[in-house]
Symmetry: D2
Subunit: 370 residues, 4 copies
């Protein structure tokens, strides 16, 4: 694996490294960790990769790696959003599969351009909507698909954070509040899109319409930092559901509180990212169960992505690693139906663009089309 | 105290009895517990009140009680919403103060009529927005008023229930889904209005605009059973805040999950009705505290409404009793500034009417005026 | 009801008043609230009872009340432990049933004397082991009696408090650390005995042997403030179980954290006093359920002692009131099999005396006999 | 790294692999994964290591690896307890540092023999008491060392599991209930020793005396499966504390519920393994704080062993990896004062042996000496 981005000070670069290598199917061997050659080299040192394979440019990496017998087999893109398209374009042109961080790109137009390139290249492509990698998220998805809730009527997905309630200080914060680097969306693109994907992923439904109320609450902020989006979902079978998506980065005291609740005719289900090894399950007759990760009552999707027995907590890195395990399967030509791919990336960008535009225009309910 | 409503099968009548009598300042001695004389008598038996003072009509009660030296000093109205106005009108005409269940009336027009009567009568009047009676709700209010959060930026108040996810069966359910008895609102009037009051009560802010998305999800339902309302708040000092109110009665597995989160420039605060003896408090620098009811760190408002030391859980009945303690103070001519009164009742009805109408019309953002 | 004890500054007197009156079967009308006449009068004022019935001595109360047509029907004893025997003796001699706070008396000899008096009098007698009044405690008992755990193998009951970690200051604390008023036990008599009763009450088993390790941790303390007791239980059917009882009043940060876990061949069960409306239930095959108070899945014992629907928290006062409801039934000659009585009081005193003596002597395992 | 043990069906082998490689300082390259050559080869395939380096015997591994320029630098021993001594003896004889799973050996005599060998060899040596690797465990330790609790008075450490409540079926269970492979202790050696180490690690105190009550509850079990141990601790400064250690493998519904509570003159602290990213902190004046992993309020020990920001849960594998990071530091000659070493291993064995013997003999309090 070659990494694009993830230089000194990045949070997500090391996370990708941990995740990709956890199951020993993938090894980070090269990278353009920074557009600054010195910083790229420093990153290689931190990652303990060969300094000779820390490149200053994409071109350099692709040329040098192609020439090696043990050259990289794919790239992972972990740089800020505005780099996603050019990086992916170059990788695809070099014949390399691509795993990219979310959101897909900085703008919807870029997303469509990238979609064309991916389709034309016919190469494996994945998007790291991390939270879909949690075993109990997959358990929830499987149970719902098997009809355990009956028809879904209501979805509430929340993603509260508080770390941008003050001034945006530091590498992580600065690019996220800068339209030039983050793109269209602030909070909606950084975390709202995770919540959006999670709701569709677990429910098996698709958002058809939305009403967005995005605010830039902290004085001086150019992008949204607090989002409420009303949703309408539809199922392939014609079913319909109501929904709400709340995402915020100004809620002091919240860390990374993604949680989702789904309610159907026959039951309800709750999952919380900060206590990811428990899934709550309720039925119409008053039964209320806690399903534990690693426990014997789980289905095959969840068990196959669990590494330890019940009571031995797994977390964010293990969930992330599950996406890379899926991607590795795809590289080997095996099916990996749960890995978020191009369509999920595109839907996410359409969600961001539609919400931002509808909120700006005060447009009320608008359709979501991709 | 004389009770109007609360006949056999009612949930809330006994609750008012428990609450009113808990501090021994008030005693239930008479009532028109039902418009059916036999059922009224049966209720007197259940309440252990004098059967001779279980009346078949309001007129009978007011006439007989006026004639007694130990006649009732006020009435409490606990019947379905459409009875509130006639009952209150008769009581006020008889010169009696009134405590009434929420919402104030069945329609906004009735509310305005009642407001005129109350103002003209100049008698004590209270509305049982129960949740404002919890000690930690009052603690939250006091801390916010003292500036602990700085300017409030965001309020999320949720009131999920699941008991109407199936067919509406039984006395409690049936009138709540019947427009003739419940009035304008279903879920929004039954529990949404509690959430609305709580948000204004704790924050000290007022809702100025709202955008409502109300749904009748269970097939055949005439009134809303699932509500999302976007809010804008304003403070007396010109401050502004964003907000969301979620209320639902179709969320299977939810019992009575009222919870509120308030976020300001300097901190965040969370309270949950089902674990009412803990208040979560967070600050911008990462401190996260749990404040316990009965503990020594509470302010006077909270301590004065707590009956047991920390660790001895108090609940719904004790919170409700705190409103009656406030009302008793008012009857004695003492100040009871935290008791919800006519204005709170009117604002609640305006909220219900505005939300129902705006949602029906697909009106987008509308002002909330009283 | 006449009250003995509960004067100004007492915590438990008002609690008994709330509890006794909650269901309107009992009314506090008289009392010897203090051995100081002025303080007794002040208490009557606080309780809102007739000042003429606030007596300075037991003799005065019994004489005056006997002379009234509406005189008291029973007494409740809420004074410190060393008063229990003389107060009960006088009440029984006056022909009055007795409800008394735990522990039964200050010493085991007193307990045996009282037992003789109660048996001779043949009058209703109850002991307020409060925690046995919680609906979910009764649910747990009923489920276990019905075999839901299979044979019980292990019981862990803990009662951590922290309020005596510093110096014992104030009326509540002072008598509890004074052997002259508290009797044999400090922590073991104040809260350990609650835990002991709860373990026997829920499990249906009896403690046959114990090994006690009691400490007086805070410098200068004459009585124990931190207790560990190993237990052996036996069932009527010859079954045996291991157990541990932990009680402490020096565990800073603990409020009133009574909790019990019972494990059998087929399942496990957990109940916590500070969140009393949930009961955890697990089975050998990995199922983990939360049972909620007020919910439809409860048995008749629990439902009959619940006043509100699920999600409306009930607490300490409601649990306490359930004991008085049982006592009122007993006064009416109805069965009240769950009300702790003389035998429970005696067993508690035997537990305290045996644990204190065995710990002092470093005796290892000793039998518990009554 | 070469692995000894960890063949097909083992739980802990893959865990060591994940943990050792997570920070990319260590790589698993060889192993005697099983004494069966075919199974050793199968394990190499599962671990994705070179099949040529999957050896059938220790001798073969040490000989072959010594001959390679890139031969292993140390071994990790993950086989059942009775293998620890012979494996470590061979490795030390081959001049290789050793990391070993706990308990140190199967018997105390073996432990002393091993201690002699380790001291004579002068090579780095570590014991994987996993739970000491959690960041918040290290935070707790640092805060206590800095005096935040004042003198510690009481320690309660519990380790409940339920997976051996039924028959012991499967590779994991079978050897643990077999004295020939597990050694002296069942539950006490498998998990009790973790709890013992954790208590000493966090508190900085040492156990001086214990009273053990070990039971073999499940019919037919030869080793203990349910343990209660009373403890006395002493500090280097002469301070003393009381303690209790509870460990069980028959508590149905418990997964891996290790938790520890420490109480001092000035405060109390609680950590739970199943929700390892929160630490509860209470003070004598009623303050109750939650400290979050990854948050800015942590000290350097905790921050240096955290890989993600607050709200991104880390778990068991990351904690385990922290021990390997310490071990890697030690291999480089850097200080790693928090890595459990020979003395911790010896103390653990002394604890097991003393508890087993004292319980069998009904000996009451006995000293713990190493």
């Amino acid at each position: 694996m070659g990494m694009i981005g993830g230089g000194p000070g990045a949070f997500i670069g090391p996370v990708h490294r941990y995740a990709a290598e956890m199951d020993r199917e993938i090894e980070l061997v090269a990278g353009v960790f920074s557009s600054d050659a010195g910083r790229s080299l420093a990153a290689a040192d931190a990652y303990r990769t060969d300094p000779a394979r820390a490149y200053p440019t994409l071109e350099a990496m692709f040329a040098a790696e192609r020439a090696r017998p043990d050259g990289i087999d794919f790239v992972t893109i972990v740089s800020p959003n505005h780099h996603h398209l050019p990086a992916a374009r170059a990788a695809l042109a070099a014949g390399l599969p691509v795993m990219t961080d979310k959101p897909l790109t900085a703008t919807l137009a870029q997303a469509h351009e990238l979609a064309g390139l991916v389709r034309a290249a016919g190469l494996p492509f994945g998007v790291t909507y991390t939270y879909s990698g949690y075993p109990l998220v997959r358990e929830a998805r499987a149970r719902i698909a098997a009809g355990a809730l009956g028809a879904i009527r209501k979805i509430v997905v929340e993603y509260p954070q508080g770390w941008l309630a003050g001034e945006a200080v530091g590498k992580q914060a600065e690019w996220r509040v800068d339209p030039a680097r983050a793109g269209l969306g602030g909070c909606i693109g950084d975390i709202g899109v995770h919540a959006f994907h999670l709701a569709e992923f677990i429910s098996g439904l698709k958002v058809t319409h939305l009403l967005a109320d995005l605010g830039a609450v902290v004085p001086g902020r150019a992008l949204d930092d607090d989002c409420t989006v009303l949703l309408r979902f539809a199922g392939a079978d014609g079913s319909a559901a109501r929904g709400v998506l709340l995402a915020s980065q100004i809620e002091v005291g919240e860390r990374n509180g993604l949680r989702i609740r789904l309610y159907g005719e026959k039951g309800g289900l709750t999952w919380r990212q900060e206590t990811p090894n428990a899934l709550e399950w309720a039925t119409l007759d008053g039964r209320h169960e806690i399903v534990h990760a690693g426990g014997g009552l789980l289905g095959p999707d969840a068990l196959a992505r669990t590494r330890t027995p019940a009571g031995h907590p797994e977390g964010y890195l293990e969930a992330f690693a599950n996406l890379y395990r899926d991607f590795a399967a795809k590289l080997r030509g095996e099916p990996a139906p749960l890995l978020p791919g191009l369509d999920d990336g595109l839907r996410g960008m359409a969600f961001i663009a539609t919400a931002v535009e509808a909120s700006r225009a005060g447009a009320g309910w608008v359709p979501l089309t991709v």
